[in-house]
Symmetry: D2
Subunit: 353 residues, 4 copies
């Protein structure tokens, strides 16, 4: 059973069926299909405002295109040091932006705090142009790399700070839905109302095959994203296959249902672990669990065929740090995780304790 990533599962059957249904007749290529227009309308409804949408197949593309739109080559992008854009995209933001500098800032629980951001901005304000790069964008990951979430008020504080210094605000929402349903706020409250300018609206992890939407809340900032997307090879010719995924994903709040299930499975798993005396390194606010396992239990679970990863992170609060004989692991649930899978793992834990 696989708790390695929300990437290891396939697509929601509803999304897959929609894809198959979209495979009929001729349709305009390159994003000009009628389903794409409907996706834009759905996103406008979801976010309760006008916006521009650019569909792509990967989160890396969504993030890198977004950041390139916000930061010039001589700009910097402030991010959490463990952010996906900084650690796991092989320099995609640098590539797409023409060499902007990512500034990785520390923060417990995977979250940036106003004091750390403010300190960096203060320091940068002492470096006269054109010698230093200029802070141009702040990117927040929602949910974070370690499964925690930013509350709207936290986002607003950080976004206000960024805006007041001339930075734009991007949100990497690879697990946006998981954060959203956990917080119980509206998509608008969690994004533009809190100051987010561009959102990488993730859908792949939460039930699509390969579909992400760059959502630009201020259409003026969308300038040239069409050229950037084409030029980076991310404009699909048979675009309907991208739009059809998102269409089904958004219809009837399917995306919210998928995320609620993933989160519920995370809660079931986290609760079960805690009940069996396993320490959780971080609060479970999305669909990721960071558990501190005794190495013996870890070995037992691996032997039993459970897939998940050791996940060293500096985001762990000091009190949660592993002791000798312990290891920090990440367990991820998804829309497809079953109660039986969770309980199977918990059963092994119980037996091993």
């Amino acid at each position: 059973m696989n708790f390695g990533s929300d990437n290891v599962v396939g697509a929601s059957p509803i999304v897959m069926d929609a894809l198959a249904r979209a495979n009929q007749g001729a349709a305009a290529g390159y994003g000009n299909d009628t389903i794409a227009a409907r996706v834009t309308d759905r996103l406008k409804a979801v976010f309760e405002r006008d916006l521009s949408v650019f569909l792509v197949t990967t989160g890396t593309a969504a993030n890198a295109l977004s950041l390139a739109a916000l930061a010039p080559p001589w700009g910097s992008v402030l991010c959490h040091v463990e952010a996906h854009v900084n650690q796991d995209e092989c320099g995609a933001p640098e590539f797409f932006s023409g060499g902007a500098k990512l500034v990785g800032l520390p923060g417990l629980c995977g979250k940036l705090t106003p004091d750390v951001v403010a300190a960096h901005l203060a320091e940068a304000s002492h470096a006269p142009p054109p010698h230093a790069v200029k802070p141009a964008a702040l990117t927040l990951t929602q949910a974070t790399e370690v499964g925690t979430v930013y509350k709207p008020s936290e986002i607003a504080t950080l976004a206000d700070l960024a805006h007041s210094h001339g930075l734009a605000v991007h949100m990497d929402g690879a697990r946006f839905a998981n954060a959203l349903v956990r917080l119980g706020v509206s998509p608008a409250e969690l994004t533009w109302k809190a100051g987010v300018d561009i959102l990488s609206f993730g859908a792949t992890k939460n039930g699509c095959l390969a579909a992400e939407a760059i959502v630009v809340f201020d259409p003026a900032r969308a300038d040239h994203l069409a050229e950037r997307r084409k030029r980076s090879g991310h404009l699909l010719s048979k675009g309907r296959f991208l739009s059809a995924q998102l269409d089904a994903y958004l219809a009837d709040d399917h995306w919210l249902a998928l995320a609620r299930h993933a989160n519920a499975m995370a809660d079931r798993l986290a609760g079960g672990l805690a009940a069996r005396g396993i320490r959780l390194g971080l609060p479970v606010e999305g669909n990721e669990i960071f558990a501190v396992l005794p190495t013996g239990l870890h070995a037992t679970l691996k032997d039993a065929g459970f897939v998940y990863y050791e996940w060293p992170t500096a985001s762990l609060p000091p009190e949660a740090a592993p002791h000798a004989g312990e290891v920090v692991v990440r367990l991820v649930t998804s829309f497809a995780t079953t109660e039986a899978e969770v309980d199977a793992l918990l059963g092994h834990v119980a037996r091993a304790s």
Copy 2:
């Protein structure tokens, strides 16, 4: 009825079914799924040799990644002036390569000839480094932008010329299958045996949803394509959805059957047009027809709802050039084009004559 592009149709039902079937259970992400390994094996069998494979979703990505692997930023890429890489990819090769220069050379029927290439190489040999960029790669489009094909002997002559000057050879095979079945040679004969180093093996136009394979015949040239693909956002997390398409596409020679049908429909259409006195501007060697229509007939067909494009091209032989009152149009057939659709168009032509 839509003859606008082979992009306007969906995917082959066999490919779509395979995609749906692949949507079961957990699978390793990022191209490490078992289907991906099978695709590589299939391509080795198809091309009768060892090779490296990198799957991506678009032809632009396949081409730009391939050319970036072959040409340094201070290199040039020789191509036909009307090549897709030069005209229709918004500078993707320049972006991916870090600013290599595409040198568009002229050639009738969309094809480069040894004399034109040799003349450019001779001229370039007089420009001492490091003042000029250095010719680094030659790219050939198969079938060409205007539906003609290079014979293996033509490729070999051009590739020998390129190799003897230190250039690598890339083939943009967005319509590789159409050329292949037309020529009746083996995939090996049409590529590496003729000197092709890297092939953009197109599958989207010929029946996939969004799937192309970068096929590197000399694995030594594949260095860092993994990093380049990731860094450009083209490594799918749920990679099975990419590999599943190509798996079904290649199995049981499905891809060849699809291309044969598309070509047959092109022949039926071209033959029917010629029989009705319509001049063909270029030989029909793949699935594209360049016809010289009287403007009256053009208007009639448009009014009747047929979709296709006017297509000005300098590749037309002088004797085929349109006269006053004529327009050059491109008609494209696909695996999904039906005889009825072809005949419907021909019927309108007959009635309008």
Copy 3:
């Protein structure tokens, strides 16, 4: 004796003396020295308007920075196919711009003509974004690579055409002074009054050691040139050594005197060659002579130690093309060329005839 290039001579003694004089005491670094401010004032006076100035050490840097300021990565730059930016800068414009595409257009006598530019713009207007790059800038070389010059009216026609299609206009003025004094117009008439937006104001070839000024007539277009210059390593710390050169170069019309001398030597050489029956391939409008030499004479001159280069060019009018037994050579005079040097070469020609 060396007629190989205006680069082979040193600096004007007046410029060198000024440089030595500038070597006193402390001065603010990074272009903030008082001499730099004076250079800007001098250029404002020369061009009779407000403007922004960015000093660099090479023409390649001036051109590449200028074009990067005018063309986005997804833009194209129209230039003469033989332009220095296209042929002799190892892809610098592509590098600085992040991969913009240089479109080399043909033209006799090294000059672009409105019909060729208009034809390209018309063709480009049919390629819908974002598939094709967008024409963003036109660059003219003054004097051209083959020593001819654009008249203000010719510039104005081309610039109007460019501006009406949304392109900005750059002038590569590596030999601006030579063209200017030949035409007998004002610097303003030859640039912004004719529609030039940014000028690479060359000074190195005409008497400086290594000094070029990017002159931005519309300061709004100068946005971020400071960052681009720094980021490309072209902001000198001891900036006074750059500004001191240009200060002396511009003072007392020294630059004009230098160019007049170079041109006069070119006239003396060209006149002498013609008088001795040597065919000139192109009109001598700056300080470059393209002569068609019998190969025997060519060998004689080389044996005698004269330095100059064979210079194959497609810019030659058909009637001027070399016959069998002839070779096209380029002879360049400079501010430092003496009458004695010219006459020495002419003497050899006379004796050899």
Copy 4:
């Protein structure tokens, strides 16, 4: 009197005279002059081995070209967080390398330590390619941004660590001469014998106008630096003016004499400050002094016209941190600093105490 930077002074008279002397007759352009060959020979003698040399006008160019030669776009460059390449070059390394990632690591006294580097390398080794960038180069600044120096043994330890992980080693030697004469070792011992692969051999700060040499100890690593230099606009046409500076700089150990003087003035100043009770924040190992001034004294000195900068730095050992009412300032001496200037400043300090 100006202690703001070693950039605010002009050039050594000996260098300036050589430049004027070089201004005679014709010379081959683009680095092919005879003086350039002599400079290479001199550097071979200085470093006691074969090597390749590329001259440029700025330290930013030297650093960025060097790092681009060592790190691919998908690589990372480890540096001290306060390194010039990371903080003060507006992203030049990112630009020249095509988007490599600079990883700024902390370290007291401006110096990297093996434990910090090893920890980062260990962390990076857990990130499987191609998801993360790959550590490709380590760059050390000698003397550091805060005027301290690495001993040969310290360099060797760091270089061994780097090499054993596949990283190349670059040294930013903007103040190389100052470090060298302080340590009393040979140039070879301080560079390639300790594991440095490429050195930015600085000369501008220490007495040239604008001249730096990229010294590549392993010529195999110099591949394509010629193209990179040209393409970035850093190949001077009248190259003799660059080579002449370095020729005079190196002749007769002039460069060492210049550095010895600058360091002696730094010692005089540092000693005088300490004698007057001023705390030094960092050891004075080159020509930079970091002093902790009472704000009153600071104001007095500024009023008296002394030029120098407040210089907040995290490199200060904790015990040296400024208290309330204190400010950290940087004072820089140069080859041109006089004892009188130093004593004038000390006199003001004495009177203010």
